[in-house]
Symmetry: C2
Subunit: 250 residues, 2 copies
């Protein structure tokens, strides 16, 4: 505990779905909380505990949620902010830091911590073999908070420098066409036979893997719960496995 507050705030991630992929550090943190703050579906993954208050909020209100969590902590509560996956990857840890910067000066004295978790692309990769076995990047296709031109610039750079590319938030009802545009851009640079994986609900019992090629990839396969991985030039398919060798000198 630091500073003038008796409350605290910890940002955690529940992992990709199954309880067995949530770190023990996260489970212990959740058990100690007086208040859980998060997007409803992520809170539902946390076992109910008597005396614990739940503050479920809608998606896409990350900054409001972070402010609420910081206020609760400042009022003396032991607050846990619940993300899915890892809280530091396209999730709540950045929103909490942003509100510490924007919000009340005293919040900088709060006892705040982040506990890491298993982010979606790692669960997806494990299902498929080892597609992230060598240099890779992670890009969110959501243009809620950045321009589509920025996304295109990053896709182009990643393709030209031959990174494996993990696409978070590949599609939503509000953005049905972007993944198709991303595939079109990648096809102009990368070979048609490049392996592409669509993995839905990777860390859950209902996980579904579709392995195809860039030439044949159908963007409509993806929804909000899908993560897409596009291979590098070295990424290979062997039986049911897709993997990227640790590199081969030319």
């Amino acid at each position: 505990m630091s500073g003038p507050f008796s409350g605290s705030l910890v940002v955690v991630g529940t992992g990709p779905g199954k309880a067995e992929l949530m770190t023990p550090a996260t489970a212990a943190t959740l058990a100690r909380a007086t208040d859980l703050v998060g997007y409803g579906p992520y809170l539902e993954r946390v076992p109910e505990r008597s005396g614990q208050c739940r503050h479920a909020s809608d998606n896409r209100v990350e900054l409001d949620r972070a402010r609420h969590a910081l206020s609760l902590a400042a009022s003396g509560r032991q607050v846990v902010v619940v993300s899915g996956g890892d809280p530091g990857v396209f999730a709540m840890a950045a929103a909490v830091c942003e509100q510490i910067e924007r919000g009340e000066a005293a919040w900088r004295q709060l006892d705040v911590a982040v506990v890491p978790g298993v982010t979606a692309m790692l669960a997806v990769a494990a299902r498929a073999g080892a597609p992230l076995g060598h240099d890779f990047c992670a890009i969110s296709l959501s243009d809620n908070l950045k321009s589509w031109a920025t996304i295109e610039r990053r896709l182009k750079a990643a393709a030209e420098a031959d990174f494996v590319i993990a696409l978070y938030n590949p599609a939503s009802k509000a953005r049905p066409h972007q993944l198709g545009e991303a595939f079109a851009l990648l096809r102009s640079i990368k070979a048609g036979e490049t392996p592409v994986l669509f993995v839905r609900a990777a860390g859950s019992a209902e996980a579904k893997v579709v392995a195809t090629t860039l030439a044949e990839a159908d963007a409509s396969v993806a929804d909000m719960r899908t993560l897409v991985i596009v291979g590098a030039s070295t990424t290979r398919r062997v039986g049911r496995w897709v993997y990227t060798p640790r590199g081969a000198k030319p």
Copy 2:
């Protein structure tokens, strides 16, 4: 179980260090093994269990280790290959897939699985705040298996497209100068005030964080147990936190 074999092979990662950051799925897999195969220091993180055989090997013999593990599984053993961090990120899952491709045809019938874990950059990011809060890439600076020209090309592309950059294997006794060269390249593209983090042993009790800027980053701070994160143009330092906002439309 699938195919003609009674043995099995599972590739796991112990996470970044502390037991509380190892997934329960990994712990349960380790408990069921008859044989553990891995680099010595990673095996030492696994509690001893009577009746379990340990096959420790040297670093940098990943393909030999994978072949040995596959042979043991083919002979009927319940084999677990132990990586640090996540087994799919610069670790053993790719080597196992590579040996399934290169090795005996019957190995393709083996019961093989990969269990995800917390890779080093996530533990590093959690220590520092949320530097990976937006689009990022992971690059291994080791040129054992790829050319330095490939590494430079990826660093340049990542800097120009404004990714946050996580550098795995930034330095070793055999490669003391590469991180300095990487910083020089990045300084030619990115602003001097770009936040840079050196985090040593992120997931352990002895974790050490150095937050500095690209202009002042001293490559000699890094060793084999260090992971380096170089921010994007939007990455910010606020008190003791470093974070990358989830994006701001121009």
